[in-house]
Amino acid sequence: MSALRSRYPGLRPFDIGEQDNFFGRQEEIEAICRLLDLDKLIVLHGPSGMGKSSLINAGILPALSQMRRWEVPYHIVPIRFTNYDPEFAKARFKGKGEGNPDADLVKDPIDRFISACVGTNPEWPEVIPMPKESFWIRTKQMLVEEGIRPLRVIFVLDQFEELFTYPEPRVDEFAEQLEELFHQVMPESVRRGLERKRIFDADAPSVQEPEEDEKLSKFLETIEEPLDVKILISMRSDKLHYLERLKPFLPEMMLNSFELRSFNPEQARRAIVEPALLEGSGYISPQFQIEESALNEIMGFLEDKLTRRVDPSQLQIVCQHMEQRMIKKDVQRN
């Protein structure tokens, strides 16, 4: 990372790669990793501004990739949903039809999921003739392409509540596809696709580039291999009821959930003190130390008088302000 960054990102969530200055959520990270180890579908929820996205980006994603208890790590695919604005989408799309480059701006959840799998290689040949996109096939393709064996992946779906701003048929379609992902063995739709392929091949053997041919045969070799998919959903607590809509497709939804709460005093202290102590030249501010009395004063200001818990976003605002003052001080000193 060439640009200098803040020790405290403020209201913006921590980004992927910012785990070094992310403190105070160790228990939560461990708890969620444990849940993901035990089960396939976990819902992480909390009020807005509680730091769910930060926790995922700077806590869970790095932790998962280093999970000790998994001999072979899971491939991890984070996907962040954005909301749907019909007026905006229509304006973007108007009269341009299919293939409109602007359409990327209004990517719907299904497309988003697919492009997360396909990544930089969207021109994957159609291995199995399917009438519509299949998460199952795309996921498997991705794992084969990345050379991940056994075939295991964790999808981390952040801001999942935005899914429900899309038209209902698309939400249903998404849920249906998600459900197929949990099939360890081949889903019915894929089995039919294979039959199609068999008939096509018998009819007129397809001619492929040798390189693609190799990819294809590699993929087809793994078609019977079990697919191990886990999904971590993160969403706002006040939108949690939307998950009910997915129950017809995913009855195990909400079986395992984790509530993300504000910091307890100990966590808050670490989140304030630790980033300041970090060495290195990557930050906009020099290393500094917060005196005990100052810490107590900040804590006294941030703490909820009743529960003694600290809201993470308030903490970030105060700390970001503190960092700015440190920068000024430093400039004056020099």
Binding site: P86, K132, R170
Partner: protein, 567 residues
Amino acid sequence: MRDSRKLATIVFADIAGYSAMMQADEERAMVTIDQFEAILEKEVPSNQGEIVQYFGDGALLAFESATDALQASIALQEAFLDAAVPVRIGMHLGDVLYKNNNVFGDGVNIASRVESLGIPGSVLLSKTVRDQVKNKVNFSLSSLGTFHFKNITEKMEVFAVDNPRFAIPRPDQMRGKLEVPKKPQVSPAEKREWERYQMLEIMDAIEEGRCVLIMGHYAFSRPDPASGAQETEVFLPEILQAEQQKLPGAYAEEERPDFFTAAQSLIAKPGGKRKFMKLADIKLNELGKKQQERFKLISEIPFDLILSTYPFDLLHEAFSSNRITHQYDYYSYLHESADPEPFDAAEPLIYNLFGSTRHKESMVISLERLYQFIFAVLGARQLPKLIQDKVQQATHLVFMGTSFDDWYMKLLLRVLKVHEKDISYAHTPGSVGLRAYNQSFFESNFHVTFLNKKIDSFVKELYASCMEEGILRKKAPKPVTEYHTLRTLVSKYRLEEALDRMDSLLLKENQPGRFLRELGDYYRAFHKIKEWETYERYSPEELEEKWQTLRNNLFALIDKVETQVPA
């Protein structure tokens, strides 16, 4: 005796052809009438009878006893024969009124009608007289059949004295003299009413399960290729004969062969057997439209039992194609026939009397086999009990396309015990006339009524009557083909369901991949248009256009697939 009613046996005697005799030879005529009167004067009183009246060339006699009357008549006729006087004698026993030296009443009229049936040298008597005398006299009587006399409501059986010297009128001789059904006197309205009643009677019998349909060789025909659109029918025996005559060494046959003769001559020719079997394999759709329609209607008229004298499977095929549940079985003169399952109007039985193409040896297609058939059916291998019972219980038999001129019909009718029926209806096919003597023979001996109708109008009328009565057979529901379902789904805009079903259909073994590829395109188009619709990417009109195109493409694909892939 005067002005009183009593039961009496009335005898009519008259000189046959007297007017002609008078014109030809007046003197001889006068001698003859003198002889006639002299014999009467001698024989009647001696047999306790009375000469009531002379009228020209005849006389009316009355007897108190039927036996006396019969004995007197026999004595008279013998005397007349001795004297070569050509006299007909007829008698009847009935209630009469004596008035002013004359007798009146139905009894007199019937006696006169009975006498009119006779020929010179015959002594005829009504059933009433015969019932009185049958155990008292020692000479035999033979029945001439039952007749419907003019102005007499009831039918009456008439007998002839079977004496070597006496004459017995043949059916064709009686015909001219039977004054009875003077058809011109029936107004068209009355005629229609009669026909209507006949039809209703048949229908009632059908409804009660007491009517059996017998299909003859002449119910099966195919259009004459030469007649073009007019569809002149060629009947089976004619077809066989025509084929036979095409072969080298063919000989001209009698003008109108029966089925067995025609079949036999064809089969006897080299290659004729093959030719015959090819003709036998004629399929329903090779028949004329008229014939197909006829079969279709017949299949819905709720006969319990249809006996076919045609050894082919056409009727069975016609029933099946019209989706009528039925059983199909056949008689084999070679083997013991198993009883069919019980049958009724809901599940009728089509029974081939003369075998089936399914078992070629069972087919009665030559005279030799016909003899074997008749021996078997009358002897060791009777028809299955259920069929016998059904025919036995039937009050009506309907013959369709049966040629009563064919000699074996008499035997067949015996097998079916037709003479015991109340009434049987028959129609003769248009191009095949019925010889008059055969008609009267079957009318009088087998109680067959010949309907003066074309086969198709008969079938149509019967069908219409049954329809009015609501007793037509129910067809099995039309099997819905997968393609029909697919089209319905597409037309109801249930496209995804249609696509899925079609996908399953095309995923079966050995289907051409190109259809599946094309379907794949439509599948994707479907999802794309659905997405556009969801996101309102196009105006409703534009979307409708896209949907319409997709539907049209799907309809076209379904059509294409249907012609090439069996569902």
